[in-house]
């Protein structure tokens, strides 16, 4: 099979992408030709940088959110104490080994 022309590759890209995918799967070396035929648009990198700029303080906010919340930890301790209360009461009343 002769290699398709540049025009044919671009036609596949525009109109028959599935066909182009199959072709690239069989001829991965042809990806370089397409890379030359369809380079990134000028200023795309810069435009994306501006459009998707990371907001000021993002990492600091996330680090803060990752810190364990002292109030939550205290609440968890209280809940734990409440659940262990019946056991502690029984132990006090009946002794360590349940001996009366």
């Amino acid at each position: 099979m002769t290699a398709p022309s540049d025009r044919k590759l671009l036609d596949w890209l525009d109109d028959e992408p599935d066909k182009l995918e199959r072709y690239l799967a069989q001829h991965p070396e042809e990806a370089d030709r397409l890379e030359t035929l369809v380079p990134p648009p000028a200023a795309l990198h810069e435009s994306l940088q501006h459009a998707l700029e990371t907001p000021v303080g993002l990492l600091e906010r996330l680090r803060e959110a990752m810190r364990p919340d002292p109030a939550m930890r205290e609440a968890a301790t209280v809940v734990g104490d409440l659940f262990s209360l019946p056991w502690e009461t029984a132990r006090t009343l009946f002794g360590e080994h349940g001996d009366l």
């Binding site: 890209l13 525009d14 992408p17 182009l20 995918e21 199959r22 072709y23 690239l24 799967a25 991965p28 990806a31 397409l34 369809v38 380079p39 990134p40 648009p41 200023a43 795309l44 990198h45 810069e46 435009s47 994306l48 940088q49 501006h50 459009a51 998707l52 700029e53 990371t54 907001p55 993002l58 990492l59 906010r61 996330l62 680090r63 959110a65 990752m66 810190r67 364990p68 919340d69 939550m72 930890r73 968890a76």
Partner: protein, 204 residues
């Protein structure tokens, strides 16, 4: 949403106060785990990949607040599954795969909740820096790129960001997004054609 992890001594350390300055500058590969290397902490992951996660998320959800939520949710998932990371592929691919899936899920939830489909076409202008905001040309450029991205599906937007902004190799993008390599290439080339046309229309 809070990322405060439940107490679990089997988990890697997550509190930055306990972690020191590891990975603070986000140097390439500092959060990666080599053969026999120490498991990266969540703080390492945040420092190294936080901005990339945010950019991928924003390109998919197109809402700055939702993108921040996606970053948090991604980090939570990373933290929950870090023990299961086998280390046989770059950590970045694994993290960005989680980010992509989390962002797509968030976008679907938002779409399900939204009664008005036009809600999802808002341009996230709040992400624009003050300098760019002040420049008319900058605003036009950012408007153009968002208009161009709007015409792409969310996975193709992620491919564009990972390749054209993050500079990832095609093989890594394919691994991160769990797509065949020819699919990644074809989608990117088609996106370039579309972006070229739209950006040319909007150029001053």
């Amino acid at each position: 949403m809070s990322l405060a992890p439940p107490p679990d001594t089997n988990r890697p350390a997550t509190n930055p106060a306990q972690l020191g300055a590891a990975g603070a500058a986000g140097s390439a590969g500092s959060a990666g785990r080599g053969a026999g290397g120490a498991q990266p902490s969540l703080d390492d992951v945040l420092a190294e990949f936080g901005p990339s996660i945010y950019r991928v998320a924003l390109s998919i959800v197109r809402d700055t607040q939702l993108a921040e939520d996606v970053v948090q949710e991604t980090l939570l998932r990373v933290w929950q599954h870090l023990d299961g990371f086998r280390g046989d592929s770059p950590l970045r691919n694994w993290v960005l795969r989680i980010a992509h899936n989390t962002a797509v899920s968030a976008l679907r939830r938002r779409r399900d909740q939204s009664m008005d489909p036009t809600d999802m076409t808002l341009e996230p202008s709040r992400s624009v820096s003050a300098d760019v905001e002040r420049s008319v040309q900058g605003r036009v450029m950012v408007g153009a790129v968002w208009k161009a991205l709007e015409g792409l599906d969310e996975t193709t937007r992620a491919i564009v960001v990972l390749r054209e902004l993050e500079g990832m190799p095609y093989e890594d993008i394919a691994a991160a997004l769990e797509l065949p390599l020819p699919t990644v290439r074809t989608r990117l080339f088609r996106a370039r054609r579309a972006l070229s046309a739209t950006l040319a229309e909007w150029s001053p």
